[in-house]
Symmetry: D2
Subunit: 318 residues, 4 copies
Amino acid sequence: MDIKVGKAAIAEASEKLSNWGRWGKEDQIGTLNFVTPDHVARAAKLVKKGKVFGMGIPLDSNGPQSGLFGGRWNPIHTMLATGTDAIAGRQDEINRMRYADDAINMPVQAATHWDSLGHVFYIDKMYNGHDAKNVDSRGVHRLGIEHTRDRMVGRGVLLDVARFKGVDSLDDGYAISNDELDAVAKKQGVTIQEGDFVIIRTGHMERCIKNKAWGGYAGGDAPGVKFENCYWSHDKKIAAICSDTWGVEVRPNEGPEVAQPWHWVVIPAMGLTMGEIFYVKELAEDCAADKVYEFMFAGPPLVITGGTGSPINPLAIK
Amino acid sequence: MDIKVGKAAIAEASEKLSNWGRWGKEDQIGTLNFVTPDHVARAAKLVKKGKVFGMGIPLDSNGPQSGLFGGRWNPIHTMLATGTDAIAGRQDEINRMRYADDAINMPVQAATHWDSLGHVFYIDKMYNGHDAKNVDSRGVHRLGIEHTRDRMVGRGVLLDVARFKGVDSLDDGYAISNDELDAVAKKQGVTIQEGDFVIIRTGHMERCIKNKAWGGYAGGDAPGVKFENCYWSHDKKIAAICSDTWGVEVRPNEGPEVAQPWHWVVIPAMGLTMGEIFYVKELAEDCAADKVYEFMFAGPPLVITGGTGSPINPLAIK
Amino acid sequence: MDIKVGKAAIAEASEKLSNWGRWGKEDQIGTLNFVTPDHVARAAKLVKKGKVFGMGIPLDSNGPQSGLFGGRWNPIHTMLATGTDAIAGRQDEINRMRYADDAINMPVQAATHWDSLGHVFYIDKMYNGHDAKNVDSRGVHRLGIEHTRDRMVGRGVLLDVARFKGVDSLDDGYAISNDELDAVAKKQGVTIQEGDFVIIRTGHMERCIKNKAWGGYAGGDAPGVKFENCYWSHDKKIAAICSDTWGVEVRPNEGPEVAQPWHWVVIPAMGLTMGEIFYVKELAEDCAADKVYEFMFAGPPLVITGGTGSPINPLAIK
Amino acid sequence: MDIKVGKAAIAEASEKLSNWGRWGKEDQIGTLNFVTPDHVARAAKLVKKGKVFGMGIPLDSNGPQSGLFGGRWNPIHTMLATGTDAIAGRQDEINRMRYADDAINMPVQAATHWDSLGHVFYIDKMYNGHDAKNVDSRGVHRLGIEHTRDRMVGRGVLLDVARFKGVDSLDDGYAISNDELDAVAKKQGVTIQEGDFVIIRTGHMERCIKNKAWGGYAGGDAPGVKFENCYWSHDKKIAAICSDTWGVEVRPNEGPEVAQPWHWVVIPAMGLTMGEIFYVKELAEDCAADKVYEFMFAGPPLVITGGTGSPINPLAIK
């Protein structure tokens, strides 16, 4: 496709690709509706080896946030009870069981996560026509992540663009076209189907891990899909799109007019679920080895009432 | 079994049921080792209807904590960006995408969660002989939940004790014997197998939800398994034991000598994974309806580095 | 005064008592402008005995919040390093100094605190005509507490209404009139002057402490000033008004039409600084004993950038 | 003095300078005992101009922490209610008053702060002989900052070492001797007296602010007092020592054997209160202008139960 990316292109795509009302006025989960029980049952049949891949990155102070985006911080993990307390005899009176306990404090999108459909607005509206004012300081009162508690299961497909290109990692700014996604799928011998959870590997995260430096990973430049991907995702009727980058789409943005133009369309117009900061190294190596790029996917969100998303550790099961 | 519950019984069970060294000196996951890839592959075959049950409770300020245990608090959810900001034009300069963002702050065991093997000590030792001082204010440096990132998948079995007894909920203090668990399984037509994720339904949580009051749920009295369950769990070689209560075992404790005696044994001696505060109402109704009490279980923890556990939304897939 | 409290009365008072522009268009501190260096110097002369009273309540999980107001929680205090870690030898490699460290997480108005002028709006405006949209998810961008960093010093005066009435505590719902405040001052032999920090004692907090139960203290019913107090505070040109209750004004509210009507006027129209949840038991006893109800007041806020207020431990120095 | 700084010097100083038992076995505030009501009354007389200086730095995400020390983070400020919510009509039903609210989450020593006497241990003991195990995951159960709630008032003296040396800032690693402190006092025409709150200006913070980069300020190298200062502080019977650096003493440390050797002595042996990260630019300019280096000091801590310290905004009043 040849799209001049900017506000006009966003307006056009928003209209053409709108899923508002497609699953009813009260729908809160958008493209996850593409996944039927039958899809889930068939996805389970993809499990052959019984091999499980956890795609969540570690949640700790060494996380990817470096202050670039929206005041996010890395996970803060604090202890409420410790083994050192226990052996010092500090617990024997109050809690006769000797134990450790702890807490975690993090932006829900600071590490591997789902975006809920309440995460992005177009002008003053959310997906399905809900007013953006339904998201206030007390939470996401429409389209929160809690509505997806039992919907993040289905067929997963890895599209390993980096391996297709023969590189360890695509460069920041590398824009993945729809044609290229199709070529990758074809090369891998896999077909994208309705209701799929599509995971795109760019190698970006692995580059950061190898360099022992997240650098500008979260909030900065990255390889990713072109704006035109919104048409591809719509046509394929996928349930969700995920990647090993912080925001799926290419950065710097295509064109100076708007930041993250693809986001403007896929969440508020289409209701497309998005997964970000997925760790896929081991999964990708396994797929390259056995040539099987489809698998059962299970990525349950935490049931955060009114959440714009959830930290997750999604599983690929082959 | 007829056990006089107290320190002597704990010492005896700790010795008899010890799994220290069973899976090597470096093992960090205990009974999860019972789950092999073959178990995972067979578990996937249990998926017939494609029906998914999310067993995580909502994470919000209405959670079960009421100050009874260890300074835990209910999840605190705060917004970092809102739709009201967006429509007031507050984001247009800095973040040209209009969006919402948020954070969550919670004890990892405040709601539905896994315990890691670093959660409970016996005297000055953790599972597999690790020194309890490996758990300090900077985290759980041995046996943290991160080691289980890709291990929480397998066959799940629901043992619906409340339904077996013909009640909506067992009373607080009701102690479930090993014989009763066997009777429930027999009545349900299901056999507990090596590597199973066993989920016990007492109805306690449903009672709280019905009463719109968590009361002393977290940290207080509850129905649950007797101390002797450690022998049962060991004999059955189960991977994990879970329930709809805050601590699996019966409260008030059996005998005045120690608090939570079953915990003293199953985590540090056996390395048994424990899941607590599971929401099983819908799953249980479905099992009662189709008489199928086994299913694929997928409960990935967040990869909290050095965590004593993780908040989760575990899935049963039938 | 005889005021029918409601929206009309608020509108009238907002117009009559407005200080918008009084100290310039850029003013951010309102009535604190009444305090001049000369006032500070004279306040210091009130120090005779060298006796200091800390008026902050303890910040811990036993605080006054019980979920009644706006999702506030009691202070959460967590340790980052402990003595038990130290004696277990956990710090000797990394931090050769043996130490303890900790963190605090709290709503700024959860305990003893100042309100900043950015805390309350009238319709869509803040004090001095600033648009309410200047307060978004990233903070209070006008009228934040940081502007008062060096302004919370001057003459303090205690008006001990409870003692005047001969009771330990005024009842919830007891409404303090302007005449009564004047009578208290007269009885105490003290004159309210321009630039004063006026502290009203109702005994409410002491009642809660005595009962070992905060009950509905924060967010609930309370003794306090009548709506007409906005006229009194304006006429007296006081710098700030403080009390031992959570919100200074009487609750239940006078009239059903609006909640906390006095707040609607004193902050946005007048720019009056307000101090709440002040612990004054010992100060009041001392004043009753030596008959001196005036003192030096020093209540520095934390310099919370964009804060709606600050937790404090304000001092009365006699 | 000519001290070979290391463990032997620490042991010697700890013995010679010990204040254990000096103010009774139950004492929890150490050198703050030097401040009597008479000192407070005389300090108030130093107020001449009525000029107030707030010495707290802003609490926000641009704070001095950069991950160097102990897992500390910069203050996290989140909103619980906003003006954008208000004007979007989100509060009109629930809280009929339109308002903003917020919370702060920070290590107590992340910015301008007091150390409590529970902050540093010597071997396994705290000040006054308390066992270090009194500081566990639930807080500082002896010597917490709450004991100082009404004790942080007295005579303040600025020792402007940077101005004395004719530089904007002393270099990192510059070690201030006792003789130099005496020379500064003499040059300034001020005498250090029993019970003083001594504030040392190195210019370090101003250098960071000027460079718009905190760099390694918190936890890194810095100008500061030599180890021998423990003798000086003891001889002078000062109440507290404060500076515009993160840790008062010089860094890199004198000698390779121990980190922060001065801390090992002044807190656990002497019970000396310490103030860090004080902003003194404006105070120092005023003192240089009017040649008056003494003032009333009022630096109330928050009453953090069991705190290792408290964030503060201490005041100098001239």
